[in-house]
């Protein structure tokens, strides 16, 4: 191994004076001859290195960092939280980050895929080296080398959010819906969920306006205000399925009592949203379970490497739009009564986390 590195470096050096592109190409070819590390069926703890890779720097994933620390302590193996440096969730940057981690010796991954198909070739390369992958918080499309997908069922969550809202509205009225980028696959699923929830009222509740593409700090506040200005008097309900529109709507509804007749349900437990909820300026918010996502993923990956477990084809999977091996990480409606309990904490639904951990022997089949 040592000799091969030296010879490679030597070769690189001799090529410095040759044409640059060709020289580097040859170096790359030489490097390619290093044999890949093949994962054994069972590994000792010291060899297990698990990485949780989010889509990019985003507040949603912050609890994964805590989960990685907690799981590392409990399991006694390396569990790291590594963020690809791409605020816009570019798949190519994420792929390059994962490749670097493999080069560093990581041998199990839980990944939020920045593209549902873009990252599959990377997964294939990981699988060829015997590295298990769990899709976390977002799924790649079947057929995928990911052993399973563990995340929020965003469509079901949006539908449930809509149902809670329409019930609170007395089964009639008009709803405004604030959402994110159309190019995000989850936005489409959320919109389907909201539409399905509205459809259940048989026309008694109308989806009056959808304002999309506003999940950014600069777009959300003016868009929410414009919606309130134009439709504020006729709307009786409002939904947000994304972070920035939720924060903006919570902040604006807190300051403008004339729109309090509008029942608003936001997303996530940002402090601004929670303080609006505590002061009863908004009706509720939807909580997800990112902390539990990190914990469960690390545990499953650990068992696969440590004990040579594989995924049980008969595990309690749900069939989702793009994958047949989906497990819901949970969602929860946080009402005004529950607000205190979920303020100032990271997003976590321990009941769901414990339930899924309890089903580990159903999800995995171990030798």
């Amino acid at each position: 191994m040592k000799r091969s590195i030296q010879s490679r470096r030597g070769r690189l050096a001799t090529r410095l004076f040759a044409t640059a592109v060709l020289g580097l190409g040859v170096a790359a070819m030489a490097a390619g001859m290093v044999a890949p590390a093949v994962a054994a069926t069972t590994l000792p703890k010291s060899k297990i290195k698990i990485a949780l890779v989010p889509g990019g720097p985003n507040v949603y994933f912050a609890p994964w960092a805590e989960a990685a620390k907690a799981a590392s302590k409990v399991l006694g193996v390396t569990v790291s939280y590594v963020v690809p440096p791409t605020p816009t969730f570019q798949p190519s940057v994420e792929m390059s980050t994962v490749d670097s981690l493999v080069a560093k010796g990581y041998n199990a991954f839980a990944i939020f895929p920045d593209g549902e198909a873009s990252i599959v070739p990377l997964y294939n390369r990981l699988k060829a080296r015997g590295i298990p992958i769990i899709d976390l918080a977002g799924c790649t499309s079947d057929p995928t080398p990911a052993v399973l997908c563990f995340g929020t069922n965003v469509e079901a969550s949006a539908k449930y959010q809509t149902e809670v809202l329409t019930r609170a509205m007395g089964g009639k009225g008009k709803i405004g819906f604030l959402t994110g980028l159309l190019t995000d696959a989850n936005t489409v699923l959320r919109e389907q969920g909201v539409k399905a929830g509205v459809a259940e009222t048989n026309g008694a509740v109308e989806l009056a306006q959808i304002v999309s593409n506003i999940d950014s700090p600069s777009a959300a506040p003016p868009a929410v205000e414009s919606l309130l200005a134009s439709k504020g008097s006729e709307l009786t309900g409002m939904l947000a399925t994304d972070y920035y529109p939720s924060v903006a709507a919570a902040s604006i509804l807190s300051k403008n009592a004339q729109f309090r007749h509008i029942l608003f349900i936001g997303q996530d437990n940002d402090p601004t949203v929670m303080s609006a909820l505590l002061s009863h300026a908004i009706y509720g918010t939807m909580l997800q379970n990112p902390y539990g996502q990190g914990i469960v993923a690390a545990h499953l990956l650990y068992k696969m490497l440590k004990d040579g477990c594989t995924v049980n084809p008969n595990a309690p999977f749900t069939k989702m739009g793009n994958t047949s091996r989906f497990i819901n990480s949970g969602y929860l409606f946080v009402s005004q009564d529950l607000a205190k309990q979920y303020s100032g904490t990271m997003a976590s639904i321990p009941a769901v986390t414990d339930k899924v951990l309890g089903e580990t022997d159903k999800i995995l089949s171990c030798p």
């Binding site: 191994m1 590195i5 490679r8 470096r9 690189l12 050096a13 410095l16 044409t19 640059a20 592109v21 020289g23 580097l24 190409g25 170096a27 790359a28 070819m29 490097a31 390619g32 001859m33 290093v34 890949p36 720097p57 590594v82 963020v83 690809p84 440096p85 791409t86 605020p87 816009t88 570019q90 798949p91 190519s92 940057v93 792929m95 390059s96 980050t97 490749d99 670097s100 981690l101 493999v102 080069a103 560093k104 593209g115 549902e116 198909a117 873009s118 599959v120 070739p121 990377l122 294939n124 390369r125 080296r129 499309s141 980028l181 159309l182 190019t183 995000d184 696959a185 936005t187 593409n213």
Partner: protein, 341 residues
């Protein structure tokens, strides 16, 4: 031609930047390997570096086409969004054969860029403003037209191009595309009168016009070639992203400038280094991977990318100043000049 000594110096200058980059790559790669272990040079890691670098090199060339004529293309990503949407529509919705889709993407890339060129020439606005406005127009139009829809690329040829291997498990076939584009660019600039005219227009537009160069035509040709390369970059991008939408291209601006400027293309125009662009893209894309490997906390990795561009610009400027002390001394007036009353 009276400019031949300057041109000689520029050719020499671009070679030093390519050579400098080779040394820089050797140095940083050695550093990454000795700190982070041999994994950095493993086929697995190199594959993803060159896959990205190939696209970024072509983006750098698309940018360089206009920088050479003392202009710039802020709309590389806008054209990319239009081309990506078109490619997705043709392959997925219309079910067109691959070659038809590829040709049409190239044609539309050229047309989209030509429209900007015509706008610049007819309004007399700077290329900066024209391409900035078109970045908004094209990006917005692509999202509006497709409704943000995802297109799943299933063409086996494209998949083989973006995710196959060439000669070695460390090399993505996209490298061949980038090198081919590089060779064509080199032929254009160093073996073709159009390229020579582009360099002349970039070095001194008035002098070029005076010596009989049809400046408008040359500028339009530069726009067209820039658009064509954006089309090529789109196809390269789609071949490994596989699932594309109109949001693609939003991140292309920074790599396109980094590849061109780090590669030694003078922002003042009239200068090009094709090998420099290829090497700069390779360096830039190996940086992020290397920093991850040597345990730089991941939230901090964006910072060095900006610093590298800054360092490149400063070093390049220092080098140019040394090369042309007489021409520059004129601008550095004594700092004691009085404020006019």
């Amino acid at each position: 031609m009276g400019v031949s000594p300057a041109r000689l110096r520029e050719v020499l200058g671009s070679q030093t930047s390519a050579l400098g980059l080779v040394l820089l790559i050797a140095l940083t790669w050695t550093g990454f390997t000795s700190i982070g272990g041999s994994g950095f040079l493993g086929s697995f890691n190199l594959y993803s570096i060159v896959q990205l670098a190939a696209r970024d090199a072509v983006l750098g060339m698309a940018q360089a086409m206009l920088i050479v004529v003392a202009r710039m293309n802020l709309a590389v990503g806008g054209i990319g969004a239009v081309c990506t949407s078109l490619l997705g529509y043709l392959l997925v919705v219309a079910g067109a054969p691959l070659w038809v889709a590829v040709v049409l993407v190239g044609v539309v890339g050229v047309l989209a860029a030509l429209l900007m060129g015509f706008t610049e020439l007819t309004t007399g606005l700077s290329s900066f403003i024209v391409t900035l406005a078109f970045l908004s127009v094209y990006g917005g139009a692509a999202v509006l037209a497709t409704g943000g829809r995802q297109f799943q690329i299933t063409s086996p040829e494209l998949q083989a191009l973006g995710n196959g291997t060439l000669f070695s498990p460390a090399i993505c076939p996209l490298v061949a595309v980038a090198v081919a584009c590089g060779v064509l660019c080199w032929l254009l600039y160093f073996r073709n009168s159009l390229g020579w005219k582009m360099l002349a227009v970039g070095a001194n537009e008035r002098a070029a016009r005076a010596s009989g160069v049809h400046v408008g035509g040359v500028v339009l040709a530069a726009y067209a070639l820039s658009g064509l390369l954006c089309g090529v970059a789109t196809i390269m991008n789609a071949s490994y992203e596989l699932n594309v939408n109109a949001g693609f291209g939003a991140d292309w601006l920074l790599p396109s400038f980094i590849a061109a400027v780090l590669g030694g293309v003078a922002l003042t125009g009239g200068d090009i280094s094709v090998a420099g662009i290829l090497l700069a893209a390779l360096f830039y894309d190996s940086l992020q991977s290397g920093l991850t490997i040597i345990n730089v906390p991941s939230y901090w990795i964006e910072l060095p990318q900006g610093l590298v561009l800054l360092a490149a610009v400063l070093i390049d400027q220092a080098r140019r100043r040394r090369a042309r002390p007489l021409e520059r001394s004129r601008d550095t007036e004594p700092g004691t000049a009085a404020v006019p009353s």
